[in-house]
């Protein structure tokens, strides 16, 4: 049997004396979508950032497509990857941030095209064609020549999704993609993510949108205090949670 697309083993992360992740493990098969929910500060974003090594895990292993991520195993010893090796691996993982982080000095099209050009060595015409395809996917073709400052939050986030898609990634990571948006702009971003999920893309989605998580994910992790408290299919975890902590969290969040 082929290795799963993503395997996280015994992931620990501490910031100083603060232990944020206390041994998290998960797997994601190709084409599957896992939603990670849980209260603020439970470590869900940190877990996501450890998967592509934006944070270096304190302990534990990440495997992407069967290959050790961020570290190299040779002769029984493990060493951190060089920045170049790490960059090459990260290119296979698209990430969408809560704060969008579009590059303000580039137009929407160039935001999407720059990684294909600089990382994958495409020529300008090819990269722009790819960018236009991806912008069309997120329904942003009409704003291709605008600078990020001229776009609404929802539009910026959709361009950021197109930027991640242009990597033609094996895996997409969403880090609370709608948490920074005005309520009326959330829908357009969720719609795009839903469409990507329907295309069969593999994704890990950290979110506070419980109903959306239930709709789109095929597996849900509920995290609390740096651990996975409960996991299973959405109808089980969200519909009939077994743990009191999960119930308390859902009660609180679904009231609003």
């Amino acid at each position: 049997m082929a290795a799963p697309l993503l395997r996280v083993e015994d992931l620990h992360k501490s910031f100083g004396s603060l232990e944020v992740l206390k041994g998290v493990s998960m797997t994601l098969e190709r084409g599957h979508k896992t939603a990670v929910i849980g209260p603020s500060g439970c470590g869900k974003s940190t877990m996501l950032r450890c998967i592509n090594f934006l944070e270096t895990p304190s302990r534990g292993r990440i495997y992407l497509d069967g290959e050790r991520f961020g570290e190299k195993e040779a002769d029984g010893a493990v060493r951190p990857m060089t920045e170049k090796e790490l960059a090459r691996q990260r290119a296979h993982v698209g990430m969408v941030f809560q704060g969008f982080y579009l590059w303000p000095h580039l137009t929407a099209r160039d935001n999407v095209a720059i990684a294909p050009m600089r990382v994958r060595g495409m020529d300008r015409a090819e990269a722009h064609a790819l960018a236009d395809t991806m912008l069309a996917k997120v329904h942003m073709s009409h704003k291709a020549d605008e600078y990020p400052e001229r776009l609404s939050g929802g539009q910026q986030q959709r361009v950021a999704i197109a930027r991640a898609l242009a990597q033609e990634p094996k895996l997409l990571l969403f880090d609370e993609p709608t948490s920074a948006l005005d309520p009326e702009l959330v829908g357009e971003v969720l719609k795009v993510i839903h469409e990507l999920a329907d295309e069969g893309r593999s994704m890990v989605l950290v979110t506070h949108e419980i109903r959306f998580a239930r709709d789109v994910a095929d597996w849900v992790l509920f995290m609390g205090d740096g651990d996975i408290v409960e996991e299973g299919p959405p109808d089980a975890v969200i519909g009939q949670p077994r743990h009191e902590r999960t119930r308390a969290f859902l009660r609180q969040i679904l009231q609003h």
């Binding site: 960059a87 990260r90 990430m95 579009l102 590059w103 720059i114 990684a115 600089r118």
Partner: protein, 215 residues
């Protein structure tokens, strides 16, 4: 009167050429030094931070004139003769380097860390992220203080007449000694500085406006 201006203008214009040369050369030294040290300060090496801080504080908190004297006379005293033109460029360049280290450091600090993270996330190396994402934005942020520094530098080059670099004020003082036309000479010298500085200020303004196009 006109003839007199004509006679005085020749040497002053000659000085203006040197003024421009010293300004440009010192500006290049200051930018290379300032940008290089600000980049080094992004590293986590404590010793490097410490050495750069000492350099910046020493040069920011002592007069340029004292620095120039130390380079020109001080080094000659220990057997290391530096001509006045290179001494002027080194002195003003080192001084400007300290100022611009802070300008660029503040420029980097003004850029949200998410900008770099997004660049790393798409597969850029830290260097590629610096080159394609951080530096173009830093440039925009630092352009106004950089321009102001260049304008100040142009006028501050007057101080290097004290180590006999043959720029505007050096010629002006010589002309005053030989002609006793104190007011006329210094008015002409001031006009010359204005003629150089004013277009430079407009140029900086123009660049600033163009950079702001994407805001």
């Amino acid at each position: 009167m006109l003839e007199q201006i004509y006679d005085l203008g020749g040497p002053l214009l000659l000085g203006a050429v040197t003024t421009v040369q010293i300004t440009l050369a010192a500006l290049v030294v200051a930018i290379v030094l300032g940008l290089g040290l600000a980049l080094l300060k992004l590293s986590r090496l404590r010793l490097v931070h410490w050495l750069i801080d000492i350099y910046v504080e020493v040069f920011r908190n002592t007069p340029v004139l004292a620095q120039l004297f130390l380079i020109y006379f001080g080094l000659a005293y220990v057997g290391f003769k530096v001509a006045s033109f290179p001494a002027a460029v080194i002195g003003l360049g080192l001084n400007g380097g300290a100022i611009l280290t802070e300008v660029f450091r503040a420029g980097f600090a003004a850029i949200h860390h998410g900008q770099r993270e997004a660049a790393l996330a798409v597969g850029m190396t830290p260097w590629e992220s610096m080159r394609h994402i951080i530096l173009p934005q830093t440039w925009r942020i630092t352009l106004p203080p950089l321009g102001n520094y260049a304008i100040a530098l142009l006028k501050d080059t007057a101080v290097v007449s004290a180590i006999a670099a043959p720029e505007i004020m050096f010629y002006a003082r010589n002309l005053v000694t030989s002609t006793f036309e104190t007011t006329l000479v210094y008015v002409l010298a001031a006009l010359l500085y204005f003629a150089l500085s004013f277009p430079l200020a407009r140029l900086v303004e123009h660049f600033e406006r163009r950079q702001r196009a994407w805001l």
